[in-house]
């Protein structure tokens, strides 16, 4: 680890000033579950590190006028323990509940997970599935955008459009109406705890009073640079009665799409194209269970 100057501002305004002042070579630290490793391995060599842990104003989960707002410094553990998230936003609850280990969940924050935009970020996959918005602040002002737009980065070197002096302060999304909408997430990993996702599959599905699907959104992390969308699968479901049989019809589409996207990685594509179907079978079963439409026996 190289020496660096360390600041621990007490307010967001102070933090933004510092980031603007040192934007040439600055790193911000929230939980530190990624940055500390990068510092130790000298993958990150900042001249200045700004600690955000004192910014309690960014540690909140609020539901206001049908919108869920989560402050960037909210930990995975806090989200996993939140009763409202557990009841209304299963996709995020399940994703945060299984990040790393208890120690990592106690430190790691949702803002850090989104800003890092890791290939296998579970919080990211869940929030993209929810079609969430993010709020970015800097001394120049505030901008808000869809996560999909936020992730329009340049791949490996620059993973998202966050500017060097910009702070991701909030993620927000519409509170699902659980009478008609269900969300689900399944994490496939190499062991049952302390594991990086092999695939993190998420889904949001809405049905009308007759059980006809009016909205579907499916995303899966760790299948590409960013959580992979399945628009053809979604289109297949919308307008049809939501049943397990109908949902299974999307699996061949998913198979072909994952094969096409990963064929440059022959050592992993076989397993990914097959297991992604297994992941979504579980997601489908969970969605149907939550909506009270069908109980699927595995």
């Amino acid at each position: 680890m190289r020496p660096f100057d360390f600041y621990a501002p007490a307010t967001v305004v102070e933090a933004l000033e510092l980031m603007h002042q040192h934007k040439e070579n600055v790193a911000v630290i929230a939980g530190g579950t990624d940055l500390v490793l990068e510092l130790n391995e000298r993958k990150a060599n900042p001249a200045v590190v700004i600690d955000l842990k004192k910014l309690k104003e960014l540690d909140y989960i609020r539901v206001e006028e049908g919108v869920v707002r989560i402050g960037a410094l909210t930990t995975h553990a806090a989200i996993a323990a939140d009763r409202q998230i557990e009841k209304y936003v299963r996709v995020l609850h399940e994703a945060c509940r299984q990040v790393g280990s208890p120690q990592i969940r106690n430190l790691g924050t949702i803002g850090g997970n989104l800003a890092q935009s890791s290939v296998a970020g579970d919080g990211l996959a869940a929030c993209v599935t929810l079609d969430a918005d993010v709020t970015l602040r800097s001394v120049r002002g505030e901008r808000r955008m869809k996560l999909d737009e936020f992730l329009a980065g340049e791949g490996a070197t620059r993973r998202n459009i966050l500017a060097a002096d910009e702070l991701l302060t909030e993620v927000s999304f519409a509170l699902p109406d659980i009478r008609h909408t269900a969300t689900a997430f399944y994490k496939l990993a190499k062991r049952k705890s302390l594991a990086i996702s092999v695939i993190g599959g998420g889904m949001v599905a809405t049905v009308d009073d007759n059980g006809i699907c009016t909205y579907a959104r499916m995303r899966a992390g760790a299948l590409g640079r960013y959580p992979m969308p399945f628009p053809t699968c979604e289109a297949h479901l919308v307008g049809k009665k939501l049943t397990y049989a109908t949902m299974l019809e999307t699996l061949p589409i998913m198979h072909d799409q994952v094969l096409e996207a990963n064929k440059s990685r022959p050592w992993s594509v076989f397993y990914k194209k097959e297991s992604v179907q297994g992941v979504f079978k579980k997601v489908f079963a969970d969605v149907l269970h939550q909506l009270g439409l069908e109980e699927v026996q595995e």
């Binding site: 280990s101 496939l188 190499k190 062991r191 049952k192 705890s193 302390l194 594991a195 092999v198 076989f270 397993y271 097959e274 297991s275 179907q277 297994g278 992941v279 079978k281 595995e298």
Partner: protein, 335 residues
């Protein structure tokens, strides 16, 4: 689809290599306050060889385990211990400690026999007391004995070693009797396999091990549980990934070399089976490797049983399971 399967793994395993000499030694001194210094070369890498040495010394001397202080693997003072390998330290260092204690007891026996006026061979050393097996009213406490030792200027010191009876093997075909004793074990393991994702959930494991006389039953249980974690990991998640070009290990960290966590473990029911002693200290046999061995074939067989296929190599990763299941489905559809 989730499918369950059960597998059984059996093994026998040699303890105490007789093909080549492999001795270990111990030093012992019983001090006037009845505390005991035991010095062994055996390296305790967490398996509990020092606790074993203390238990063997306490049992042999008739003292309590709290009285024994073990110094281990300090090359400045310790005698030869040989490698902590081949499940040998309980068997070999255990016997060395027993032999060292027996030597230290020479002066203790002589002194007790004089004080109690009974023949040395009638003396019993047990629970911090010394008494005659012929007349139990003739008895003294250990502090009294150590007082008598001090009065006479005698010291209770001993050095001992043990080497399995080296028989050597026939150099022409390596035939012969390669080990002094054998450990036996059977492990039964139940799994649930997800045929879509290849995930394996370890459900229950019963692992029964012939340990001769268990020197420390709790440590026997711990060794069986730890061995099960290693053996199941050997099958479902652990692999040293070597780059075929550079021969460098590609996963030299515990974030990439996947060992099971507590959440990955099955319910483990360890069973220590006692058997006739043979040559070990108080009849104890080694358990270090036997603890892990039978869970490997049991896990392989259980996964195979769940899918109705036979696996012939480890590890069996999720991709292997998905492929085996798809191949089987394809073969059945053709047939």
């Amino acid at each position: 689809m989730k499918r369950r399967g059960t597998g059984v793994g059996c093994m026998f395993y040699g303890i105490g290599n007789t093909g080549l000499p492999n001795p270990a030694a111990a030093f012992v001194e019983v001090l006037p306050d009845t505390s005991v210094n035991v010095i062994v070369g055996a390296a305790d890498i967490g398996q509990g060889s020092s606790t074993m040495a203390a238990a063997v010394a306490a049992e042999t001397l008739g003292l309590a385990i709290e009285n024994i202080h073990v110094t281990w693997a300090d090359t400045q003072v310790a005698p030869e211990g040989g490698a902590t390998s081949a499940s040998r330290q309980t068997f070999i260092t255990g016997n060395a400690v027993k032999n060292a204690c027996t030597q230290a007891m020479g002066e203790l026996r002589r002194t007790a026999a004089e004080k109690l006026e009974v023949p040395e061979e009638d003396l019993v050393f047990r629970n911090r007391e010394i008494y005659s097996s012929k007349d139990e009213t003739k008895r003294m406490t250990y502090p009294e004995l150590m007082g008598a030792m001090s009065y006479r200027g005698r010291l209770a010191v001993g050095a001992g070693y043990y080497n399995p009876k080296t028989t050597y093997l026939n150099p022409a075909d390596m035939s012969g009797v390669p080990y002094e004793v054998y450990s036996y074990a059977t492990c039964i393991l139940e799994v649930e396999v997800d045929t879509d994702t290849g995930e394996v959930t370890l459900l229950k494991c019963v692992s029964a091990h012939d340990v001769g006389t268990p020197i420390n039953p709790k440590m026997v249980e711990g060794q069986i549980e730890g061995g099960t974690a290693m053996g199941t990991g050997f099958v479902i998640s652990e692999k040293i990934d070597v780059d075929p070009k550079t021969l460098a290990i590609k996963n030299p960290t515990l974030s990439k070399y996947i060992i099971g966590t507590n959440m990955d473990m099955p319910e483990i029911y360890p069973i220590a089976v006692s058997s006739e002693g043979e040559a070990g200290p108080f009849g104890a046999k080694g358990l270090g490797e036997p603890a892990l061995i039978p869970s490997i074939p049991a896990t392989m067989a259980a996964i195979g049983n769940a899918l109705g296929v036979t696996f012939t190599k480890t590890p069996i990763f999720p991709a292997d399971i998905v492929k085996a299941w798809k191949d089987k489905q394809a073969a059945e559809n053709q047939g």
